[in-house]
Symmetry: C2
Subunit: 265 residues, 2 copies
Amino acid sequence: MLMQALHVIKIGGNVIDNSENLHRFLKDFTALEGHKILVHGGGKVATQISESMGIEAKMIDGRRITDIDTLRVVTMVYAGLINKNVVAQLQRYGANAIGLTGADGNMIHARKRPVKTIDYGFVGDIVENSINPENIAKLLDAGFTPVFCALTHDGEGQLLNTNADTIASAVAVALSEHYETTLVYCFEKKGVLHDINDDDSLIREINPEHYLKLKEEQIIHSGMIPKLDNAFAAISCGVKAVIIGHSDDLGQLKGNTAFGTRLSN
Amino acid sequence: MLMQALHVIKIGGNVIDNSENLHRFLKDFTALEGHKILVHGGGKVATQISESMGIEAKMIDGRRITDIDTLRVVTMVYAGLINKNVVAQLQRYGANAIGLTGADGNMIHARKRPVKTIDYGFVGDIVENSINPENIAKLLDAGFTPVFCALTHDGEGQLLNTNADTIASAVAVALSEHYETTLVYCFEKKGVLHDINDDDSLIREINPEHYLKLKEEQIIHSGMIPKLDNAFAAISCGVKAVIIGHSDDLGQLKGNTAFGTRLSN
């Protein structure tokens, strides 16, 4: 049976925090045909709201800690303010969006991160069988467009703060049994660049062999390596392709023209 | 064709604000068989968060105004903090809850209240065809339990603050074509009382004829009259029965024993 196409698209602060970028992105997202899922991170507004409430960001060894006050703020900001405004805008543009945390429909479980040297607080890690693809597929097949924020739950009544990149990747992998799934990371650059200072040096396609060579030549290095390692891990788990590109260029996906850097086997 | 039963249950501040009441209610709600929808109001936490952010409640002639800052707070608190914690708890107890505003799945439209003598701000009124029963039914039929907070949208990207009692009633009416619908208002009393100071004076059943008599005898008066007028209006629009009772007694519904005051034709 031919599987239907699904795009899982992740946006972060550089889209969320800029009203113009966000609206352009949401229009292009709406215009994209076929099944689609949006995953969004936080953005600066969570920090602003925390500050206005007199809650200080807790850091240990440079790592952000989600204490109970911070969890309350991110629940308000991610699941309320950002998620519901994104949903209302998508409805305006014509996408039948439905805003979710991982607790909704029990779609994304997580395990509270065990305390080793650092107690990260209410942070949830995605583990095996964390995702319930059947419940997500029910929404897609009913014509809804799920919009996930970066919150999960432990099944015992506790919400947990979870990395949005990880949610996007885990959702894409879990749904690749039901749909021909493309995972798209919206990024502050046009994609993977030969020369980080030259936007015209975009690398259009990378396969695993090519990736090894680019690492050897140190064209891909430092922070990009874990990002691409995770992308190829998703591909080896069933995702058809991972695209890394700028949110402004998402419209290119509509016409099946090249958009960003496409990673595939 | 025999219609399936649906309960639409509304809770307000007296349940939301008290953790013990809330948990007992959510357990009883989960145990209730058949299709069900929860509608929740705000509670004191919205006021507390507003105060901690230095936002003053705006009142004109004793009426609360939803200015843009207040809308941001209620979006955070109703759709984020309260709604998602209720969903996580319901998941814990075993209900496959999914938390929603009226913008999600375009389920509840509203019209921004026109400015006459008072500008209420971002307040939405439910109008004809405000409810999309097909999209709500898709969730119910897929096995989900919708949990609505008191927010709607105008379809143009604007979220609106809307009375939770009105949402519950409009949703129950709209779904009464698809399901045999009972609307339940959880109340601070055991139901409609003969003597407001005597909890044992509960009136078990009221039909329209009986209602007229109770009004004539001034047993029902002042604030209860609009409440019961609205309840009988919902019944005349297709809702099978409206029950007004205390959240603590919801467990009685499970065994089909009498719970609160039952209004029907």
